[in-house]
Symmetry: C3
Subunit: 314 residues, 3 copies
């Protein structure tokens, strides 16, 4: 997310209780995860093996749990628990705003857009023109929806990222990362009934122009779906997955987080995608393989008893 | 769907911009997909390989993209884009009617039926007697529900068919087929929480008498589920599948579209049904096989290392 | 469930039309399934092979369909159809109470807890302090929620158990078991959007302290989830499963009913757990195996063609 106005690093240090190292006159313009940072952003790192990636990223202000050499022009906020300091900042800049009615007064809704009864439209939501939001849909704060979009009943846009830091020494082990990203639905998208599309942790979860999603689909935090995608019912996509344009996923396909599916890939029903795969091909299986290869394997399995017999006969 | 009153083909030709061929004095009584047509129906065809099936079907009026010989007594509506002409007709005869309250004044609700708060009941919905509709359920327009039916919270009945025509040459590739079918829930059915049952494209999606569905189940457009079916949670059924009476599907089973599962079949959890299967048997796997055969296969796989060893010694 | 006050067995016999055998002065203090019974409870049995288990259980009053020897101090309620007699009692002691508003007057809601618009809170629900209930959530009657709990939009807590008795001779074959159990959500739990957690048939479905559930998760009736569990999206858990503390389930995992997953087990995506498994290990596959063993199997399958070639060369 980007701040409404720049924030001096000295205020950040004081607010979080961190020690300032490096450029103490800097101003922060936003807050982001490491894979989304741009100049002016605050990011955080708490594992030594990721120090270098974070210090050499585009992030200008880095919350870190050890005093290390500060790269030129950057600012370190040294804090014993960078995760908590980061969460404190998110909570401050993107506080929860309780709703008092089904459609927030701060929502901006385009002409010829129809919001059916029972649909909830949160604060600061923007919906374009000629959209149809069916009953009992829930649209969390800050969601952005383009033109000619249809959202079927009981779908949820913008619930929190499923992202926790585990602290095994505590009784309650999982510490919640607060999300300050958004869900962005581009023009001409249709989303089925009973789907859930989570907001990004700091960036946006995006459903690209013209994509069509069937019912019961889950899209994890920060996933980016390209244009003209077609997903059948009960598909699940993990956080920060990148699905390029024109990908077709058949029913109940599962896709892990942090990977890329190339343009135009087709994946048969119930398959599981555990790592990045090339576009323009057809896949099947859990984990997925080239569909023809997988089909051949299934046939080979059927020939094992025949092989056994041959082997016994010698 | 059937029209409230018959529609002259000359009006249809003018409204859609089609050229009339054959019987020009005909009247249309309804509109249907090819697998559902009856005499008096309008249907459409836009692929040459399906011409014959459509021309020889029960459809009386056929929207077609080429001037061919018209079978005796029938009427052709020759149009460069039959899909669009068909969609224009559906939109005209089954227009979207915005709702203004949670329970429509045009809904007919039987005695001793209880609609819990937050449930949406659309226009022209009919619900029988002694039913219980739990909170935040969404029932789209024209849905029909019998007697003694329980619909658990946040379930959606009658969302649009997931049916698109792809036009690769366009920026927005998928053209939406408008649905004019319905969802019909017969007597004594219970549907769990968070399910979605889509309406048929032109015919009805039917849940047969006495069937029981657990939570998170997806039933695609036009599927016909028999009587006394039992589906466990997270099952997904594709469009126009026919599931005969007394079929039992365990959790997370996926069923493709356009196939038949025979009476009394039992399918174990997480299986995938890709083509029609006989009734009275037990199945397992993705794709499914006879359950015992599949179990044996799984055991044979475990013996591959033993075979390898024999082979190496051999 | 436990009754508000003790109920004489003579009233029970009269109300259900059963014949009293054994101690006729007994009082019942509750009603429970066989795996949950404690002293004072009514339970039922209608299959001869379960007679002994029920008669020797902690249940004090047993509804049974045959006059057998009554264990000392206990009471038998002999009835031709124990299931129906049991259901009649549940209906009497836990009747359906229609709701008239989104948040029941009989619900007790702690301080600093925020109920967003469109959320339904049923009768006799208790919610602790500092909770956040998002829009269009449905919380059925008698649900209990601790402190610091977050329930995301459109999730359903406390829908009925999916539990039926089949009577093949009838036209409508499945007879519904009424549920009188509850859903209990302990402190510091977060539940994602579009989940469904069913109430227990007679006992409680429990989500243990500090557990975090992603979206579209189904938890069956009477399942008991330990502390600090982490379940990814679209997981399904069958009825009465016991998931011990700190279990991690990845996306789309399915777990059968009536089994135990040991503490700290990790199960990879799309796996299926069909029977009890030990804790502290990593699993994969449908049905699950040790993850490394399963991976090796997948590799062996790829070597079948090589084996075939060797075999042919002889």
């Amino acid at each position: 997310m980007k701040f409404d106005k720049a924030v001096p690093v000295q205020w950040l240090a004081e607010f979080t209780g961190a020690t300032l190292v490096g450029n103490t006159q800097q101003e922060a313009t936003g807050i982001n995860e490491i894979h989304k940072v741009t100049a002016g952003d605050i990011s955080f790192v708490d594992f030594e093996k990721y120090y270098n990636a974070c210090l050499t990223s585009a992030a200008t202000i880095i919350i870190i749990n050890k005093q290390v050499d500060c790269p030129g022009g950057k600012t370190l906020l040294v804090h014993p628990d960078p995760f908590s300091a980061y969460v404190k900042l998110v909570k401050h800049f993107r506080p929860f705003e309780p709703a008092t009615k089904m459609v927030s007064d701060s929502a901006i809704i385009g002409e010829d857009t129809h919001i059916q009864p029972g649909a909830f439209v949160g604060n600061h939501v923007r919906i374009g023109k000629n959209c149809l939001i069916h009953p009992n849909v829930t649209i969390y704060d800050h969601t952005v929806i383009g033109d000619n979009v249809i959202i079927h009943a009981n779908t949820v846009l913008g619930a929190d990222a499923f992202y926790f830091k585990r602290r095994k020494e505590r009784e309650v082990q999982y510490d919640k990362m607060l999300s300050c990203g958004r869900v962005v639905i581009e023009d001409d998208v249709e989303i089925g009934a009973g789907c859930t599309i989570d907001k990004g942790v700091s960036g946006d979860t995006i459903i690209g122009k013209g994509s069509k999603l069937d019912n019961h689909i889950h899209i994890g935090h920060g996933a980016v779906i390209g244009k003209n995608a077609l997903f059948a019912a009960q598909v699940g996509i993990g956080g920060k997955a990148i699905i390029e344009d024109e990908v077709i996923l058949w029913g109940q396909v599962g896709v892990s987080k942090d990977l890329t599916i190339g343009k135009g890939a087709v994946i048969y029903a119930q398959s599981g995608v555990a790592s990045s795969i090339e576009g323009g091909k057809i896949y099947f299986g859990s984990p997925v393989e080239d569909a023809k290869t997988k089909m051949k394997e299934l046939n080979w399995i059927k020939r094992i008893p025949e092989m056994w017999e041959k082997l016994m006969k010698g």
